[in-house]
Amino acid sequence: MSAALTAVPDHAILLETRALGFYRQDEPVFASLNFRLRAGELGLIEGDNGSGKTTLMRILAGLLHVDEGELYWRGQPLQRDRCVGEVLFLGHQLGLKADLSPAENLQVAGGLHGYRAQTTLSAALTEVGLSGYEDEPVRRLSAGQKKRAALARLVLLPATLWLLDEPYANLDRTGIALVNRLLEEHLARDGAALVTSHGTVSFHGGEPQRIRMHA
């Protein structure tokens, strides 16, 4: 199987894992995980609580080291600096400063990552439904609005691969539709995304690749 994998060079493959495994105190969190993610493809990571979805996300983002197996980014072994700037990670902790407004938070992110062409900060905030709350400190926003403020990063910042850990959490019906719309637009731009969810996700833009987590 692995020989066949290496034989076909496929430039559309963005991310590939080979026999990826992670251990906590010698207990496997997950093991022998194989999947490939192509440009324009959505990967849906499924698994129960504690099955290692968040751990996998943190490994792929480069926050955790690889215990076992190999990770490839555009066909090259993944190194910390190679895919930096191409990956956008949205985790459980949203990375928003509570004392700053959504606009100020986005300005910091834009200052670090740069802005995607043809987007503006106010347009991004309007798109996620936060117009009118630009200057409100994040601490006064509701959990769903905080999530939307973090999602505005997806609209504003340039990235090829989105790693979204529980993007639907805390969101209302329109928020879930918003995430799906952002994902569809991103995939249409030849981006790729990995999404974790322990609930059921109804995604309309084609059938996502389902990646099942198991120990």
Binding site: A61, G62, L63, L64, H65, V84, G85, V87, F89, G91, H92, Q93, L94, G95, L96, K97, A98, D99, L100, E104, Q107, V108, A109, G110, G111, L112, H113, G114, R116, A117, P137, P158
Partner: protein, 228 residues
């Protein structure tokens, strides 16, 4: 997909941390008030004898400012770790060490600089001769950044441990001994009319070394802290 330049990124970081500090300006006043009160206690405890107070003034001001900085040090990275900002910073396409250097600079500007500004007042309460004040300020300008940088390494190393505040003090204070010796040495030399440039030059040399190495050490320590 143009990546912003280093200047833009540094400015964004610096402005973020300064804005955050300004939103919580009460926290800036805390170390200043602490230093004022501690210095005020010395004349009460030792009696208002000019000669005695003059002799200890330089050392007392230095140690007080060191302890006051210690109060605020703990918070340098903790809120960023809690709300996930640090993860975002680590993943940003910018050199982490330089971004952390900006955070340390912002921290120094908001905690050490106010203390340096009130240091003539502190020294005045202990009857330090005004001719020595410039040397004291110079020694503080060189030694406080060193404390910020040393402290940042230790905060990064103890990030994620519980009750890190006390541990931090126990680890940082021994490292501060050389800094205090040279800074107080310069003040004492100037007070006695001796040349004081040599200890100041040593402080400067050590500061340059730390300026280069400390952000790199911080970056490595925080990456390890997140990888757990």
């Amino acid at each position: 997909m143009s990546r912003p330049g280093l200047t833009t990124a540094c400015a964004a970081m610096l402005r973020r941390d300064l804005t955050l500090a300004w939103r919580r300006r009460g926290d800036i006043a805390m170390p200043v008030l602490y230093a004022l009160i501690v210095t005020m206690l010395f004349p009460f405890a030792l009696g208002p004898e000019d000669t005695l107070l003059q002799r200890i003034a330089g050392g007392v001001v230095l140690v007080t400012i060191l302890l006051a900085m210690l109060l605020a040090l703990d918070a340098m990275f903790s809120s960023d770790i809690e709300d996930g900002s640090l993860e975002q910073l680590v993943l940003a396409p910018q050199p982490l060490a330089l971004m952390l250097a900006m955070k340390i600079l912002a921290h120094w500007l908001t905690t050490a600089l106010p203390l340096i500004v009130i240091s003539p007042l502190l020294a005045g309460m202990l009857h330090l001769p005004t001719s020595v004040m410039p040397v004291l300020m110079l020694a503080l300008l060189l030694s406080t950044p060193m404390l910020s940088l040393l402290g940042a390494i230790l905060v990064a190393l103890t990030a994620g441990t519980r009750r890190s505040g006390m541990l931090l003090a126990l680890m940082l204070l021994p490292l501060c001994v050389p800094v205090v010796i040279f800074a107080a040495g310069a003040v004492a030399a100037s007070q006695q009319g001796l040349p004081w440039l040599a200890p100041i030059a040593w402080l400067g040399a050590a500061l340059v070394l730390l300026l280069v190495l400390a952000p790199l050490a911080c970056a490595a320590a925080l990456r390890i802290a997140l990888d757990a």
